[in-house]
């Protein structure tokens, strides 16, 4: 008998009374919070700013300009983008005239891992949606915008459409039907990387991005 069979046999031998399925939908229905896009947007913003992210209100027309401003202010001369995406292409078009180099993520990581780890100061990705309750960005990396883009560069800039903000994580996954198909790596990101492992003193920039910048579309004042 294999380890698998022995473990399952032991578990199956235990006298177990089936328990009723948990009423998760009911709990969330009874604990519903903010409702309108503006309310959700404000709550999202408050939470993620509390976690040390920078948030800028932009419009669909103005975000490339703000992107340039942010990069210039931080003296970042190179940006990692996904050329196969609309937003990536727009960033390339706008920034190419401004002296900020756009590096496209076009090869497999094995071919440029050194450069990724040592020479990419910032990246731009899109967020699929977000969660108001916890100030959380939802990223679904794919072939165009791979996983490491939101992880290795010290500055991570994220585009988020305010109309894609859900109240809760539960609402996000049920409204978007996650259980029917997840990407190889789905991510919730709620701030720049941090740690309190030394004497419970909070320090930012542990292993992931030191700065997280959100360009919040549709929220322009």
């Amino acid at each position: 008998m294999s380890a698998r069979d022995r473990i399952l046999a032991k578990l199956n031998a235990a006298p177990v009374l089936p328990k009723a399925a948990p009423e998760i939908a009911d709990w969330y229905a009874a604990h519903r919070s903010a409702e309108t896009t503006a309310e959700k947007s404000a709550r999202f913003r408050g939470c993620i700013e509390f976690a040390h992210a920078e948030v800028y209100a932009v419009s669909n027309a103005s975000w490339p300009q703000k992107l340039w401003e942010v990069l210039s202010a931080k003296q970042l001369e190179k940006l990692l983008v996904a050329p196969g995406t609309t937003h990536g292409q727009r960033a390339i078009d706008v920034l190419s005239e401004s002296g900020i180099a756009c590096r496209g993520y076009e090869q497999k990581i094995e071919d440029w891992k050194e450069e990724m780890f040592h020479d990419i100061p910032a990246s731009l990705t899109i967020a699929r949606s977000a969660i108001a309750e916890t100030g959380t960005l939802v990223l679904w990396p794919d072939a165009h915008e791979p996983r490491l883009m939101s992880l290795v560069p010290p500055v991570h800039i994220v585009l988020l459409d305010a109309s894609n903000i859900h109240n809760t994580f539960y609402e996000a996954m049920t409204a978007e039907g996650w259980a029917d198909g997840l990407p190889t790596n789905a991510l919730l990101i709620s701030g720049p990387s941090k740690t309190a492992d030394i004497q419970v003193t909070l320090a930012y920039g542990a292993h992931g991005p030191k700065e997280l910048i959100v360009l919040l579309i549709g929220d322009e004042a």
């Binding site: 380890a3 473990i7 399952l8 032991k10 578990l11 031998a13 235990a14 006298p15 177990v16 009374l17 009723a20 948990p22 998760i24 939908a25 709990w27 009874a30 976690a51 990581i109 891992k113 050194e114 969660i131 916890t134 100030g135 794919d142 072939a143 791979p146 996983r147 490491l148 992880l151 290795v152 809760t168 994580f169 539960y170 996954m173 259980a179 997840l182 990407p183 190889t184 790596n185 789905a186 991510l187 919730l188 990101i189 709620s190 720049p192 990387s193 941090k194 740690t195 309190a196 492992d197 030394i198 004497q199 419970v200 003193t201 320090a203 930012y204 920039g205 542990a206 292993h207 992931g208």
Partner: protein, 476 residues
């Protein structure tokens, strides 16, 4: 940190290790300060008592429902993961788990493994197993990295290096990391760790991680973390190996949000962790990064023993938040190393006997005042005080046939049992009680001056010359 080394018989040396810490004001301060901080952070996350209570009840229901279907969910998880391209392995013992992991490493001629935080890898002593075959296993969680540099073990399941001051860490980095000057600035210390470990992530052959929740329906491995080292460990190296206990499984994806919320709020008082990493497969053909191979090792190591008994099964509801240790008056005073087990504090006391047997852990459940704080804060309502009572019973009752636990009766002493039986008989009979107390008050000079552990720090117990009933009689 302790001159009384840890060994495989945690019960042995427990008192000595605890005494070391109790007599060390710096360690006392480290633990007290950190636990107070975590207690306060947690409470600010739960301003609404009703929400907390109903969420805890929901968390308990989710865990009990899933444990109720555990064997079929494990099979479903295996099917989903296999469909997603993740290879599933099963291990009954730590040795089997190490052999599986080393086998994968050797197939890839691996020299360097970077590790995200995984208590199960501590449980199986994976770092030793790697070292024995010449594979470098490098911890990448800042706390774990510090503990590994110091040649120690984690003293807390969430904050592994909580026993160390920043000055100690500053000296450690200065001594052990090449080209580092002494600095006790926490930001600078973290940047030193970041720099060293980035180079390791770049070249590592294998990334190893734990699992917080494994979702059966979608075949998804979920990881909770703040630093990004978990994501790097599971994304940058060409091979990712995850290891988890068989109990960390949920059937549905929508079981995850309530448990995640309970976990981060109870553990560190965060409404959510910086990262929640949901892995459902290796890199696809058209994808440009991510591991090309993903493995999951499912470990038993005594969990099936806990599962077999309805009361003990509740131990497996645990989501490893550490709130029980943060709130434990014993843990706060003696720290994590004194226990001598991978999992310290209240959860350690109720899970370790299943992993190590009661022979090695017989007295662990007695290191508790049964104040009940652990049970009150547990986000999934594990009745920890009841389980401690049950484990005392299992340890100290006379050995009998078909015990629920390996090592049942390991702490049994015929003399002790007779003493308590006599005690019970005396207290049940008023006449006998009267006689015994009369004898006690007359022959108190017969009491020995050495009365075991009692007299090690106290004056000997001596019955009073007059009983209460005698004094009352005189007043009438």
């Amino acid at each position: 940190m302790s001159e009384h080394a840890m060994n495989f018989m945690p019960s042995e040396g427990f008192r000595a290790r605890a005494k070391d810490v109790v007599e060390n004001p710096f360690l006392r301060q480290s633990f007290r300060g950190a636990m107070d901080f975590l207690i306060n952070k947690r409470i600010t996350q739960f301003p609404n008592a009703d929400e907390l209570e109903t969420l805890r009840t929901l968390g308990e229901q989710i865990r009990q429902y899933n444990l109720g279907k555990l064997p079929s969910l494990l099979v479903q998880l295996e099917e989903s993961l296999t469909r997603n391209g993740i290879k599933v392995h099963w291990a009954e013992t730590p040795d089997e788990a190490n052999a599986i992991i080393l086998g994968i490493c050797q197939k890839h001629s691996a020299k360097l493994m970077v590790k995200g935080k995984s208590m199960v890898s501590e449980e199986i002593e994976l770092n030793h197993a790697c070292a024995a075959v010449g594979i470098e296993a490098m911890e990448s969680d800042m706390g774990e990295y510090i503990v590994q540099l110091a040649g120690e073990k984690p003293s807390h399941i969430i904050m592994p290096a909580i026993h160390k001051t920043k000055e100690e860490i500053a000296r450690l980095f200065h001594e052990k990391v090449e080209g580092v000057d002494y600095t006790d600035n926490v930001d600078e210390l973290i940047q030193i760790g970041r720099k060293v470990l980035r180079e390791k992530f770049l070249v590592a052959d294998i990334g190893l991680s734990g699992v917080n929740f494994a979702v059966a329906e979608t075949g998804t491995l979920c990881l909770v973390e703040n630093e990004g080292n978990g994501r790097l460990s599971t994304t940058a190296p060409p091979v990712h190996i995850a290891i988890t206990g068989i109990e960390k499984i949920v059937e549905k994806l929508d079981h995850v949000p309530p448990l995640l919320s309970l976990l981060t709020r109870s553990a560190t008082g965060q409404n959510i962790s910086t990262y929640f990493n949901m892995i459902s497969g290796p890199r696809k053909a058209d994808e440009k990064d991510g591991p090309t191979e993903v493995h999951l090792v499912l470990l038993d190591n005594g969990r099936t023993q806990a599962y077999a008994d309805e009361q003990l099964r509740k131990t497996l509801q645990c989501i490893r938040c550490g709130a029980c240790m943060n709130h434990c008056p014993v843990y706060t005073r003696i720290g994590g190393h004194a226990y001598g087990t991978t999992y310290p504090g209240p959860i350690g006391k109720i899970i370790s006997p299943h992993m190590l047997g009661l022979e090695a852990t017989a007295t662990m459940a007695t290191a508790s005042s049964l104040c009940g704080a652990c049970g009150e804060v547990c986000p999934v309502k594990i009745p920890i005080p009841d389980l401690l009572m049950r484990l005392r019973e299992e340890s100290f009752s006379a050995p009998h046939a078909n015990p629920a636990m390996v090592g049942q009766g390991a702490g049994y002493s015929g003399l002790m049992t007779s003493v308590w039986k006599g005690w019970a008989a005396v207290y049940r009979s008023p006449a006998l009680y009267g006689m015994v107390t009369w004898l006690g008050s007359r022959f108190s000079w017969l009491m020995p001056s050495k009365q075991g552990p009692w007299t090690s720090v106290r004056v000997p117990l001596k019955p009073a010359p007059k009983r209460l009933r005698d004094m009352l009689k005189e007043r009438q």
